[in-house]
C-alpha cells in the first residue's frame, strides 16, 4: 500500500493542522500567563456557534464571520482576564490548580448555556470551500487535498506567523515576552502588566473562537464538543513543551501523522490507544516536552 503513502502524509499534516488551530492560542496563554485554561474547547465551541448564528442571520459565507468572531471574543477575553488574574494571584491555595478549576467551572457553565440556547443537535458550517479539493493525478501518483482542510492549515500557519511577528518585532510583543519571563521585573521596567495580560488572554480567546469556525466547517459543531478539543489542546501543548510556542506545530503534525499512519497502515481500532500511550511515553522520557524546552 505504498501507493497511499503521499496521501497518508498529506492527511496527517492536514489533521495536524486542525490540532494546531486548537492548540496555538492555548500555548500562548500558558506561555505568557501560566494559566491552563480548561475552557479552551468551550471557547472554540462558542466561536463556532457565533459563526453559525452570523451565517444564518446574514446568509454570508461562514468564513466571512471570522473577523467578527475574533473581535467579539477578544473583547470577552479581555474583560474576563482580570477575574482569572485574581484567581491566579491568590495567596492561598495553589494558584495553578485554582485557575484550572476556575476555568473548568467556566467550561461547564458555557457548555450548559450552549446546550440551553443551541440545543443538543449537531450542525455544520458550509462554506464555498467545503466541497472543493485539489486533485493531483500523475500516473499512479495521486493526491486529494480537501480545500477546507487546507484552508484550516493556512489559517493556522498565518496565525503563527502573525503571532511570531507580533511577539518578536513589536513593542507589544516585547512587553508580552517580558511578562512571560518575569512578571515582577517586567512591571518594574514599566510594562503595564494588567493591560498586557488582558490583551494576551483576549488574543488567545479570539484565536480560539476563530478556530471554532474552521472546525465547524471542516468537521461539525455541537454544544458538547468542548472536552475532546480541550484534550487535544492540552496534549499538543504538553508534547511541544508548555510555553514553547515554536514546538506546537511540530507536536501537532506529529500527532496528526501518527493518527493518519495508524489508520491507514495499522489497525484503526487501536489508534487512540496508541496515541495516548505514545503521548504518555514521550512525557515520561522527556518530561518537559519533546524538545525539552517547556517551562
Amino acid at each position: 500500500m505504498l501507493i497511499l503513502l503521499p496521501q497518508a502524509i498529506v492527511d496527517g499534516i492536514l489533521l495536524g493542522g486542525i490540532y494546531l488551530t486548537v492548540a496555538m492560542g492555548f500555548s500562548l496563554a500558558y506561555g505568557v500567563l501560566h494559566v491552563i485554561d480548561f475552557a479552551v474547547g468551550e471557547w472554540i465551541m462558542l466561536g463556532a456557534f457565533v459563526g453559525l448564528t452570523f451565517t444564518n442571520w446574514f446568509h454570508l459565507d461562514p468564513l466571512l464571520s471570522l473577523p467578527v468572531v475574533f473581535v467579539i471574543f477578544a473583547a470577552v477575553g479581555w474583560m474576563l482576564q482580570p477575574l482569572l488574574q485574581r484567581v491566579l494571584s491568590g495567596s492561598r491555595g495553589r494558584p495553578v490548580l485554582m485557575a484550572l478549576v476556575f476555568t473548568f467551572g467556566l467550561a461547564l457553565a458555557f457548555r450548559g448555556s450552549a446546550l440551553t440556547v443551541f440545543g443538543i443537535f449537531t450542525h455544520s458550517l458550509n462554506t464555498a470551500l467545503s466541497q472543493g479539493s485539489w486533485h493531483v493525478n500523475w500516473g499512479s501518483f495521486f493526491l486529494t487535498i480537501p480545500l477546507i482542510r487546507l484552508a484550516g492549515l493556512v489559517y493556522a500557519l498565518a496565525v503563527i506567523v502573525v503571532l511570531n511577528y507580533l511577539l518578536k518585532k513589536t513593542d507589544f510583543g516585547l512587553a508580552v515576552r517580558a511578562v512571560a519571563q518575569h512578571k515582577e521585573a517586567a512591571g518594574l521596567m514599566g510594562v503595564d502588566i494588567k493591560r498586557t495580560s488582558a490583551a494576551v488572554y483576549g488574543l488567545y480567546v479570539g484565536i480560539s473562537a476563530m478556530t471554532g469556525v474552521f472546525i465547524g466547517a471542516i468537521v461539525s459543531l455541537n454544544a458538547s464538543m468542548g472536552p475532546d478539543l480541550s484534550l487535544f489542546a492540552f496534549f499538543v501543548v504538553v508534547l511541544a513543551g508548555m510555553g514553547y510556542l515554536s514546538g506546537v506545530p511540530w507536536a501537532s503534525f506529529l500527532l496528526g501523522l501518527i493518527q493518519s499512519f495508524f489508520l491507514i497502515y495499522l489497525n484503526p481500532s487501536y489508534v487512540l490507544l496508541a496515541l495516548f500511550t505514545i503521548l504518555y511515553g514521550i512525557l515520561l522520557i522527556s518530561p518537559t516536552g519533546m524538545f525539552r524546552k517547556g517551562v
Partner: protein
Amino acid sequence: MRGLPAWLWILLVIAGVGLVPVVMTDAFFLRLFTEALMWIGLAITWDLMAGYVGYLNFGHGVSFGVGAYATALLIVNAGWPFEPAAALGGVAAGLVALISGWPTLRLRGAYFAIGTWALNRAVMQLALVLDITGGADGMRLPAFLRPQFFSWVMLGVVGATFLVLWLLLEQAPFGLKLKAIREDESGSLAIGLNPAKLKLQAYVLSAVPAGIIGGVYAYWITFIDPASTLGDLVTDQAVVMAIFGGLGTLIGPVIGALLLFAFKTYFWAYLSDYQVLYLIILGLAIAATVFFLPDGFWGTVTRRREGRRALQKGMALAHFPEK
C-alpha cells in the same frame, strides 16, 4: 468528651452512621447513602495526592476503573465471591499505581496532571478494545440487590479509608512529610526526606481504596462499561468535590462531596427538566467557590477559626504583657 482520642471519635461516628441503614430501610435512600459514601471515598483519596502532596492526579479514575474491572473479571470469569474479588480489585489498582507511578511521578505540575490524564484515556481505550473486558458492551455481573449490604460495605470501605488516612496524615509524621514535599520538593531533600519514595507511597495509598470502591461499585450496579468506570466523570467529580470542601484536610472533601452530591441529586430528582441549568449553576458555583473561597467551604471555616483564635491569643497577650 475532650479526652477521647481522635481515632476513637472517628470510629464512633462511623458506627453511628452505620446505624442509619438499620433505621432507614427505604431502598432508594440507601442507594443515595451508598453513592454519597462512594463519592466521599473518591474525594478523600484524590485529596491525598492533590491536597497533601500537591500533585493533581487527573487519572484517579484509573484506580476506580481497574478495581471495577478486576473485580468483575474475578466474579464473572473466575467465579470468585464478592469480598475477595473487591479486595483484589484494590490490590490490582495498587499495582497499576505502583508500576505507572514510578515513572509518572517524575513529572511535575501540569505535566503530571496531563500525563495522568493521558494514562486514564489510554486505559479506557484498552478496556474498549480488549475482548475480555467486553469492549464497549461492558460486563454484566450477577445481580445481588441488597441495599443494606452495600450501604454497610461502602461505609466499611470508606470509613476504614478515612480512619487509615487520618492516622497516617494527621497523626503520624507521614502527613507532615507529604506537606513538606508539597511546599518545596527540592527543599525536602535537604532535610533528609525521600520525596520519590514518599510520593509513590501516597500514590499507591490513594489508589488502593479507590480500587476497592470500584469493585464495590461493579457488584452494586451490576453493569460496568469503559465510559462509566474509566471516563472523565469519576475524576472530574472527585476533583470538584475536594475543591468545594477544601484541600489539604480530610474533612473538607467529605463536606464537599456531601454538598455537591446533595445538590446534584436534588436537581436530578426534582428538576430533571432543567438538567442543562444544573450544568450552568454547577459551573458558576465552582468558579465562584474558587474565586471567593479558594480554601473551599471547610477550609475557609477552619481558617477563620484559626484566625480568630490567633487574634484572641494576641489580644490576651496584649492585656497581660510579659513582665
